[in-house]
Amino acid sequence: MWQYTEKVYEYFKNPKNVGEIENPDAVGEIGSIVCGDALKLTLRIDKATEKIMDAKFKTFGCASAIASSSALTEMVKGRTLDEAAKITNQDIAEFLGGLPSEKMHCSVMGMEALEAAIKNYRGGKAEKVIIGENERVVCKCFNVTESVILKAIKVNKLRTVEEVTNFTKAGGGCRQCLGEIDKLIKDYWDQEEHRDFSRMTVVEKIKHIEKVLSEDVNPKLKRDGGWIELIDLEGPKVKLRFLGMCHGCPSSGATLKNVVEKELKEKVDPSLIIEAE
């Protein structure tokens, strides 16, 4: 038996805003009957202010799916589209006093329906927007795309495959994509953690700078017969030395600014101060 909060029960038993707005300004449809849950969100939007004047939902799914959908409609009413776009699945879950971890995908479905509805409105209602269309599908059982998984990892700070399944349903069917999900998680966090230069150890910092020098800087310099090497690191100060044809070259100052500094600031940390002998 799931441990639902009182608020989930309340929003399940007496859901607010059930129905469909006639001639809506925006529609978001997510999920399918095959996937086990589906949500159709319809919005009335004031053209001048882009404020959501009314929101209604129809949901096929479990108690937490119905409660999450109803919660979403309550949360978006009165907000502008820009404000509403900032609502995450965490916000929906918090509104309900929390959801069991296995049911977090219900809140994600709400977030996706809202995203689809906003895209539908901004796209001039030309055609129905399918989130993730033309994107790579990772989980074929539940049609979950890479971008949906990456967004869930980012918003909810997910670290395990099980968590990703709880939040997106990806991997919950035939389980063939578990390895792929695992790789997405690892790659995401590898990248995230490397980005934070200030939290690296001195050795990590040096290795990272040398990697950028050898992969992104020196191949360019070598075309002119020169290269650059790291001499020292003092806080944000990176001390380098030009060698080969670059050593003493009149245009080495420009190279330092346009190539070396640009690459290091972009790929290592924007706060670096670059100096060269």
């Binding site: 038993k13 059930v18 086990g36 096929f60 479990c62 539940f142 069917g173």
Partner: protein, 401 residues
């Protein structure tokens, strides 16, 4: 929540019969002895074990020496299958069905990782097994065929006696997981070719934590639990005397009530089922065209989801269960419905009502009163309905599992 409980989930577990509760009580008190002891105090308990064994044997039409007490149905299943594989170490093939209980299915999946080949027999749209498919599946090195007597979700009964004959004709042992069938349909193993049969106490009004395995006399056997001499060396571990006594008493009651189960209980089930089909549009009985247990009804309601139905019914004191994804923690409909090819619009909204001899007309009245408005309410919330396009279908491309 209402005060009155309408318990219609007897395939999940049953209430302990008051007579059973009474029978086991002394063994928590003054009769605590170990039946293996040489002194009068413990040794006396042996006779209660013997009596229980006779009662279970009588329910199955077997001899008492053919009954082994275990801790649960799962242990019985594991014991039977491992025993066959150890008894015939040169045989590397097993046959079972796609709709078995996980107690058998997950063991078979594990065995596949250990160098065994497993053939999983399919079922038709009504959940029926094809004996021709079984014949074709058997190989010279098939060690054991394990086919459930009755399915826990749909209640569909398999022709296990015929299946056992076919297995024997190719030199394979035959085991049946009869956890759902024992006590609900007459069983006479003396007349059958079935080599091993699993049963579970808590499905027939004994407590949880006791099961039994029938092993036909003369069948090669290798124990699962090794240690002491209990159960004539076939299942080590000090006997769970109170629970064995309870199972014996429950078996006696089941035999007495077999007529009621197939008469009054079946009539209640039929009234519930027909009543719901009449009151709710777009409802279907899964396995309705097959031979079924008298107590089980598996009904799918189109365009609504099972967990939502169960929670709303629970508010009204009605306890049932669902093969839908959300309730089990898995995300897909049950393997049984997938194997039967139950239409997707129904599969997620399927509810199992399972009755017992304690079920009453009042319980059925409650279901017929409460279920139709619950389905109607959930259909108002659902974006899907008859004649409306199903969105998202193109996204869920079918692919091989």
């Amino acid at each position: 929540m209402t005060d009155k409980v309408h318990y219609l989930d007897n395939n999940a577990t049953t209430r302990v019969a008051p007579e059973v509760e009474e029978a086991m009580k002394p063994f928590f008190g003054e009769l605590y002895g170990n039946p293996s002891s040489m002194h009068f105090f413990g040794g006396t308990n042996q006779k209660y074990l013997d009596r229980a064994r006779e009662s279970v044997a009588r329910l199955l039409g077997a001899g008492p020496e053919e009954i082994l007490f275990t801790s649960c149905g799962t242990e019985s299943d594991s014991t039977a299958i491992w025993s066959a594989l150890r008894a015939f170490p040169e045989k590397k093939h097993l046959v079972t069905t796609k709709v078995e209980h996980p107690a058998v299915l997950n063991l078979c999946k594990y065995l596949e990782t250990q160098g065994y080949r497993v053939t999983y027999l399919g079922v038709d749209a009504e959940g029926r097994l094809s004996l021709d498919e079984l014949k074709a599946a058997l190989a010279p090195d098939t060690a054991i065929v394990s086919v459930m007597w009755a399915n826990n979700e749909t209640g569909v009964v398999f022709p296990v006696e015929d299946a056992a004959r076919i297995a024997h004709s190719r030199g394979a042992l035959f085991h049946t997981d009869a956890v759902q069938a024992v006590g609900k349909v007459p069983i006479n193993l003396a007349e059958s070719k079935i080599d091993m049969l699993s049963l579970s106490g808590h499905k027939l009004h004994a407590p949880k934590g006791i099961g039994a395995l029938y092993i036909k006399k003369g069948t090669r056997f290798s124990p699962f639990l090794m240690g002491g001499h209990q159960e004539r060396g076939r299942r080590a571990g000090t006997e769970n005397v109170p629970y064995i006594v309870a199972l014996g008493r429950a078996a006696e009651l089941a035999l007495e009530k077999m007529g009621e189960e197939n008469g009054r209980v079946k009539a209640l089930r039929d009234r519930l089922e027909q009543g719901l089909l009449k009151a709710v549009k777009n409802a279907r009985v899964n396995g309705g065209g097959a031979d079924r247990l008298p107590n089980t009804s598996h009904i799918g309601f189109e365009y609504v989801e099972g967990e939502s139905i169960l929670i709303m019914l629970s508010e009204k004191g009605i306890c049932a269960s669902s093969g839908s994804a959300c309730t089990s923690g898995s995300l897909e409909p049950s393997h049984v419905m997938m194997s039967m090819g139950v239409p997707q619009t129904y599969a997620h909204g399927t509810i199992r009502f399972s009755l017992s001899v304690y079920s009453t007309d009042e319980d059925v009245d409650a279901v017929l009163r409460e279920v139709p408005p619950v389905i109607e309410r959930l259909r108002e919330i659902s974006p899907f309905a008859d004649g409306k396009p199903l969105f998202g279908m193109d996204a869920c491309e079918p692919h091989k599992h």
